[in-house]
Amino acid sequence: MSRLRKKRAHGDVELNLAAMLDMAFQLLTFFILTFKPAPVEGQVNLRLPPPAPIQSANATKDLGSDTSTNELPKGVKTLTITIFPNERGDLAALGIGEAPVSSLAALESKLKTIFSDPSNPFDQVILQVGKSLRYDELMRVVEVCTRQTLPDGHPLSKLSLVELPDGSK
């Protein structure tokens, strides 16, 4: 043991930490310069299938032509929500089907009534949106829709978006 101690004392090595410190500072500078904390973003998860053609419930020929099933053809049970923008792209008017809706709160209460009725199993919900509507205004309507619960207990997350033709703003 004593011989070992003697050897160590004679060959004492001093590490030059300056070079290591230089490198560590370079790494630190890199991390400080590239550090940009991303804001915490939320998201609204949706299933957006392309809209199926809407069939009129009065089209009795099409509806009765298939005698092999009692189910209604797809597209008959479609809930359409129409959103009209003004010149600035703000939300100007709303409608469910043919009926106008005065505000987002009214839309929410109407949707609640519709979806609480189990006899209204909609195949699809279509948002008909005016071309110039701003994204943040659209998201206000989408938020109202996604707050609804379907009769099966699942939240409404399946929507289809359709652009209103020219002339409807």
Binding site: F31, N45, R47, D136
Partner: protein
């Protein structure tokens, strides 16, 4: 002069620098490079952060108020880029054993980060391109409160 000469002990400063490096290494997130932080996202109260833990394939699309698609700061042709990403998603799914034919629904979730003032017809162009290529699952990014 010679009598005052001394060597500074660099060990504590090195320790501190290494601790700082460790901190920055742990908090750095290169995913944020794919996000265009100049976009002003809409504010939606019910929007909640979701952590997929890397289990879901994501396709992040940054759309500015002119309807341009920016990927890592480079403007891309919307239709071509989405078609290319759809092919990549299909090949990735096939490698994982899924049987996906052209026209089938893709397992990738499209993350849309659009500026709040983007008109709907420009946004819809991107959504339609995604739908035509088989994407069905979308995540619309929003802030849940206004940022100062």
């Amino acid at each position: 002069m010679e009598s005052t000469e001394g060597t500074p002990n660099l060990t504590p400063i090195l320790d501190m620098v290494f601790q700082l490096i460790t901190f920055f290494m742990l908090v750095i997130n290169f995913k944020s490079a794919s996000m265009d932080l100049t976009l002003r996202l809409p504010v939606v109260g019910s929007a909640r952060p979701v952590d997929h833990q890397g289990e879901v394939d994501l396709l992040v699309l940054n759309i500015n108020d002119k309807g341009d698609l920016n990927v890592y700061g480079i403007k891309k042709n919307i239709e071509e880029y989405i078609a290319g990403e759809a092919m990549t998603s299909r090949l990735t799914a096939r490698r994982k054993g899924a049987k996906i034919e052209p026209g089938d629904e893709l397992p990738t979730t499209v993350v849309i980060r659009a500026d709040r003032s983007t008109p709907f017809y420009l946004l819809n162009r991107v959504i339609l391109a995604c739908q035509q290529n088989g994407f069905r699952n979308f995540a619309l990014k929003a802030m849940n409160k206004e940022q100062s």
